[in-house]
Symmetry: C2
Subunit: 319 residues, 2 copies
């Protein structure tokens, strides 16, 4: 069994991963500074003798190095996930994504740990001409500070694989949905509709197309890839084989809530500066390992929504 | 005329660029901490009333922001150029390349400066399957900390172009040769042969092929691209249309020095971990603007060597 170190352990994907690692019998050290992660997400894990939580910041390299002792695999899930407001605080992506990833790698090196899984993003493809976009598509130009910081993380991990004999799995995600997801359009729409069920303001013109993936499908893919795709550096797109536009998701959400609000579109092809109007990934590489998403995008949207309805406390904890 | 801010102004390419900017009539602020740059390289520039030198570190963002006031274009030439020993001090590339580039961009933003030229490296292509490698070759996997840090810089610049309306020119260089070059194989071989003219130890097996470019040809290309290639982000390979292997350069150097040493090859296809056995760039993009290198690789090697012979003081200033 693995002894896993999970950064961002109290986050959406991080805490779900912790639960899955424990469920399969691993020992897990969870690391989180609880600045955006929610302690409640680890309530289940805390009852497990194989779980240990250490509160700390990825910028505290010495503390993280100490906490990591004895582990053999790192899942570096901590990140600034506030993609949209990158231009309001460019240093956040540099520190919490690029420098944090460097600190994780150095902490691993100090501990002789060589296996790392890293969630990157489909945004690193920028506004790519090739859609669906495969991992080896033409060298892209970055369009957001978030993606640039994730690309920097990818580069660091790859260089550590080459220079220090690390084994790295880099996963380029589409947007992930599911229980505990407290960002993104489902969260925003639900919060707005709670405040005013009669009107829904939507960024962009509603035609922005995106692919989504259910969080448990995402973790299935990570586990499978780490078992079956070996070698220095593995880069794998993770996403659904279909996509939707924002309008469609608005329809599912309002219907599920039994509402018929006036929908007001802000206009423009992008939700915000640096937003990719269309991210759709070619996932042939992970599918070749035998993986398929089990949950449709519609079900992923609805599960996210139902969880928010049942856990309204999170609405108070997010701006 | 432009008012240029040049980081790494006392370095090899930086100081040569300063001289060229002054020669064409620009005003120039040169920024360098003189940690690896040599004050002597700016002796000529110091006599020019349009030149001002400010000693400072790219990690001092506030100081750099103040020094940059009034400029309209930034040439960010400062970098940790110590490519080979990246694994001995991984933090150096992070700080001096990635974080330094972030600081330059933030200093520009604080000053309302939006034009930036940035020397990246052909190493960002990793060990690419496509040779010669064009700018839009398949998304590569990084193999060195140096290249990863340059790629991080590229990503930051592109994101600032998108997010803050910057105009960026990213140049992916092959190895640059010429007067004032105090690293690389010509420098190493000359230094070794001065110490022992009878033997020359060469890293790798001598078959490592590389393309080189003469520094003045490089600056011609930068000036041309900034004049003719406009738009958000321009990515341009700069290199010679030919390449050589290490053995050939050894032959030119020993002949030029009138020596016939025993050549001892260390063996292996790489000079060091992360060394690319073959970097050869497709330069169709810059050539389409009307640029051609004027100096052959052989002449670039010999000019580098002759300058070292005439400026032996630099041998004492480098390890």
């Amino acid at each position: 069994m693995a002894r896993a170190f999970v950064t961002g352990a109290a986050g959406f994907i991080g805490s779900t991963l912790v639960d899955r690692l424990l469920a399969r019998g691993d020992e897990v050290v969870g690391w989180d500074d609880l600045s955006t992660g929610l302690a409640e997400f680890l309530d289940g894990a805390r009852g497990n003798a194989r779980f240990r939580f250490v509160r700390g910041d990825t910028l505290d390299r010495a503390g993280m190095t100490a906490a990591m002792a004895g582990c053999d695999t790192v899942f570096h899930m901590a990140a600034n996930a506030d993609v949209r407001f990158g231009t309001e605080h460019p240093e956040k992506d540099l520190k919490q994504n690029t420098i944090a990833t460097f600190n994780v790698l150095e902490a691993m090196r100090a501990n002789g740990i060589r296996r790392i899984a890293f969630p990157s993003t489909g945004s690193v493809y920028g506004e790519h001409a090739t859609i669906p976009t495969p991992e080896d598509a033409a060298f892209p130009v970055q369009t957001s500070l978030y993606a640039a910081s994730k690309l920097a993380g990818e580069g660091l991990i790859s260089a550590y694989c080459e220079g220090f004999g690390f084994e790295g799995w880099i996963f380029r995600f589409v947007s992930i949905l599911g229980e505990r997801y407290t960002h993104g359009h489902v969260f925003d729409f639900y919060k707005k509709l709670l405040a005013n069920p009669g009107v829904l303001d939507v960024l962009g013109d509603g035609t922005q197309r995106k692919s989504y993936l259910y969080v448990q499908d995402c973790i299935d893919a990570i586990f499978l890839a780490m078992e079956k795709a070996r070698g220095k550096v593995q880069v794998l797109n993770l996403g659904h084989e279909s996509y939707i536009d924002v309008k469609r998701s608005v329809g599912w959400i309002t219907k599920a809530l039994g509402l018929a609000p006036e929908i007001r579109y802000g206009g423009g092809a992008r939700g915000w500066i640096g937003d990719n109007p269309f991210i759709f990934l070619d996932t042939a590489r992970i599918r070749a390992l035998g993986w398929r998403p089990k949950v449709s995008i519609e079900d992923a949207v609805i599960r996210t929504l139902r969880w928010l309805e049942a856990n309204r406390f999170v609405l108070e904890r997010r701006r």
